[in-house]
Point group: C2
DNA sequence: ATGCGAATGGAACATCATTCCATTTAGCTT
DNA sequence: AAGCTAAATGGAATGATGTTCCATTCGCAT
């Protein structure tokens, strides 16, 4: 099931793990998380569901593999910027954009964080933090916090996108509906949320995300990293 | 379907939204996320699946409601500590412990962040940040970042717990297995992850989480919050 | 008493991941 | 070149799920 590198494929246009993953990504991108079914996949590949199971252990395995393709592609484009700080910014921004373009990646990553796709991100962040001069003892907690923040935002965006799709709403109408709900909350119990309602529809997710990264970097620098 | 406050319940031990939610929480706590099915629920309540749908719109509605019970209970215990900073710490720690005790809460919260359970957390964090002196324009991005971090960690923990349960592993064996996998990664491509493998089984999730909160608070203070 | 709507619960439906297995295919052996 | 073997295929069957449907039951107002 692993080494398909040696002998060429059997049939003229036979199945292969890569072809299956590629088709899965297309289905996930167009039909969302719920669109990926073994029936839809087997139809796209002109085969039966059983044949797919020869190359792929189960649906989760397939999701992780598809996710890894996106993550690997993203990380490759983000490594080795001008400074370690810029590399972290590039990784964060790259992952944000990737999870925005492929909303299913967010939830897939959360479910498979200890596995290869998550490790790729950990490695990229960890090397940069090390280069930033974060002390050894603080490296893991810091990487963990950064990763969790990135995955949290990604998961959130994915959930919002899926929620909007499920109700047939555009992103703007979804935000507008949430804003209206918030503005009707009890004034005594929810003063803060109410006051945020107005600016909700106009806010920029990407800018907010990067603001969080900057708070983080600022916190890392002010709590003991020696400059390099 | 909403106001059950007025007339008393019809039958001696009739169904009610609250009884359904209470039973759901028990099932979720003992059987995990996948344990909650309308069949298991109807068996526990000695009724049929159809009766439940009279009180509850669908499974997602049920999950959000169960989640809200936990979040409301947690937030009530965390508000109004000595200082705004301590309140934020209490909320973060309270939510971490709640999501640890009820791993399903993490994923439920991610799926329903704009709804009531998420709003409760936003409100608690927002009021505290306001009291901390965070400028108006920075309040929303900061709350959003904090919430996303908390939800990210929670979702992560939930996924790890479920992953371990699915394979019948204890938490320690799960960490040990991940540690072994990481230590066998390619030395050139993954130097950081490899070097973290050894300390993975012994690390303290809760301490790491709080370290992230401290980085955050440190970042918030060093980027423009005036002391109060 | 009696009628009516709220509430019930069991059966039925559609869909899904997954398993099973008879059949086909390609590469290797002789 | 012929035959054998294991890899690969694909369609049918399985079991479980969320959800809908509807005949029936219950309690309150009349």
């Amino acid at each position: 099931m692993a080494n398909r590198t040696d002998s060429s494929q059997r049939r003229g246009e036979s199945l292969s793990r890569d072809r299956i993953i590629e088709a899965s990504i297309e289905i996930l991108d167009t039909g969302g998380e719920g669109g990926l079914t073994f029936r839809a996949l087997s139809e796209k590949l002109a085969t039966g569901p059983g044949a797919i199971y020869w190359h792929v252990a189960n649906k989760n395995d397939l999701l992780v593999a598809a996710c890894d393709v996106i993550v690997a592609r993203t990380m490759q484009a983000c490594m080795a910027k001008a400074s370690p700080e810029d590399t972290i910014r590039a990784i964060a921004l790259g992952m944000f954009d990737a999870m925005n373009a492929h909303p299913w990646v967010g939830s897939a990553l959360v479910q498979a964080s200890g596995q290869l796709p998550g490790v790729r991100i950990v490695e990229g962040l960890g090397q940069s933090l090390r280069a930033l001069g974060v002390p050894d003892a603080a490296q893991w907690p810091t990487v963990s916090a950064l990763l969790n923040y990135i995955l949290g935002v990604g998961g959130q965006n994915a959930a919002n996108t899926q929620f909007a799709i499920a109700r047939g709403l555009e992103r703007s109408s979804f935000l507008h509906a949430t804003s209206t709900t918030w503005s009707q909350l009890d004034a005594d119990a929810y003063p803060f949320t109410r006051s945020m309602a107005a600016q909700l529809p106009a806010h920029d997710d990407r800018a907010d995300f990067m603001a969080g990264i900057e708070i983080f970097l600022s916190g890392v620098k002010s709590s003991g990293a020696r400059s390099h």
